[in-house]
């Protein structure tokens, strides 16, 4: 299959070829998802170098594991980002005492490219992310905070309860309410 043909495949049809160790299929996979993977890794670990390392480790693990993707686990993008998130949290935990980066820093700006330099694909990716971010930002701050501490910070609900000096049940409830609202927003098409 030519590169052009591979580029026309849906993610779900591309992954079996990656699983068969087709390097060109993997390259197409990389070009589709590396940007989102790097963005998430950077968000969690808070440095460009560590973000690159996490992204590289996660994507190579997909290549070497035979890409055990299962459609039942959601989209290829979500599955990939789950792997990236786990790698990033592992790195944070190894570096004991290091605080997760929980707010967008000004230094991210240096990596942003001017809108006019973006390809169409990148522009769509960023627009989608912005829409999703907007939906999450509409959550009450106490719900958004516990979700962010858990997902991007890698803290357990017990650790979050201790950190915020709130009862564990309160933290659990905020997580559930916040995630229910995100689900509802998704059901309404954001």
């Amino acid at each position: 299959m030519t590169r052009a043909e591979l580029q026309r495949l849906a993610d779900e049809d591309l992954m079996p070829l990656v699983a068969r160790q087709d390097p060109v299929a993997f390259e197409v996979f990389y070009d589709r998802h590396a940007g989102a993977a790097y963005s998430l890794a950077y968000r969690i670990v808070g440095s460009r170098t560590a973000g690159e390392d996490v992204t590289q480790e996660a994507l190579i693990s997909i290549w070497r594991s035979g890409a055990r993707y299962d459609r039942a686990r959601g989209s290829v993008r979500a599955w990939t980002l789950g792997i990236v998130r786990n790698r990033a949290i592992d790195m944070l935990r190894k570096e004991s005492g290091r605080s997760p980066k929980l707010a967008a820093g000004g230094d991210e700006i240096i990596e942003r490219r001017a809108a006019e330099e973006l390809t169409d694909t990148e522009a769509v990716r960023r627009e989608t992310a912005q829409e999703v971010r907007g939906a999450i930002e509409e959550l009450p701050s106490d719900q958004s905070r516990v979700i962010q501490l858990a997902y991007y910070g890698g803290f357990s609900h017990s650790e979050i309860a201790e950190m915020l000096n709130e009862p564990l049940g309160t933290i659990k409830g905020r997580m559930r309410l916040g995630m229910d609202k995100i689900r509802a927003a998704l059901a309404e098409g954001l």
């Binding site: 070009d31 979500a78 942003r112 997580m175």
Partner: protein
């Protein structure tokens, strides 16, 4: 746990990776045998997925791509050595050069940007039949490599602007005063392209790329965007 089933709060926390290890193990022991909890966890997958997608989107550095694909290439090569006949190699293996020490080759190629600024000078090769230079983009914009084989060469470019209408990128081969058209191409959505330059390229041959208003022209009508001179 709520009787036999985990609390819904715990399933949400599990989906977010926020349970303590022993609580996590309890959910993992129960859920696969429980249709109700499995359904609940599956319903949470998209909501957790959007958390990963909602972050500020950044441009990954080009060298990350080179490093990842170099590892992939190295795996393919190791696999080929173990298994005999080679599987399809990625880009003839030249991406892997970024991860290997450069070694001397008999043929040097200089790739220069418009205006004669040197943007490359790192030579390497993947075998006796092919000589390759890895080009590090020296400016925001176009960069790439030219790999020269005995009877066919390959340009691998990135940072190319998207084309409009009938426009194409045109490759030209110059020997002395004579300039002849070679292949033309359209980059992918990420501004990348690979294109073959057919025929033997003797020393002194200059390979150039221009952006032309349409295919089929017999001489360049726009400034040279990139050139590579075989020495």
């Amino acid at each position: 746990m709520n009787g036999e089933h985990p609390d819904r709060d715990d399933l949400v926390a599990y989906a977010l990776g926020a349970l303590e290890p022993e609580e996590e193990r309890a959910v993992e022991a129960h859920a696969p045998r429980c249709a109700r909890c499995t359904r609940e966890l599956e319903a949470l997958v998209p909501a957790v997925g959007v958390l990963g997608e909602s972050v500020e989107q950044l441009e990954p550095p080009p060298q990350l791509r080179e490093r990842v694909l170099a590892e992939v290439n190295a795996d393919v090569e190791r696999s080929a050595e173990r298994e005999g006949p080679a599987p399809r190699r990625l880009r003839r293996g030249w991406r892997g050069l970024f991860a290997r020490p450069a070694f001397a080759v008999g043929l040097a190629i200089i790739v220069a940007a418009v205006g004669g600024y040197l943007i490359a000078g790192n030579t390497g090769g993947s075998g006796p039949e092919q000589e390759t230079v890895a080009v590090v983009p020296a400016q925001q914009g176009i960069g790439g490599t030219l790999a020269v084989d005995e009877n066919s060469s390959m340009l691998d470019l990135h940072g190319l602007a998207q084309l409009k209408g009938e426009e194409v990128y045109q490759v030209w081969v110059a020997n002395g005063e004579a300039v002849s058209p070679s292949s033309n191409f359209i980059p992918d959505d990420n501004g990348r392209a690979m294109t073959a330059v057919d025929g033997h390229l003797p020393s002194g041959t200059r390979v150039m790329v221009t952006r032309e208003p349409r295919p089929g022209l017999t001489a360049p009508t726009t400034p040279v965007l990139l050139s590579a001179t075989v020495q």
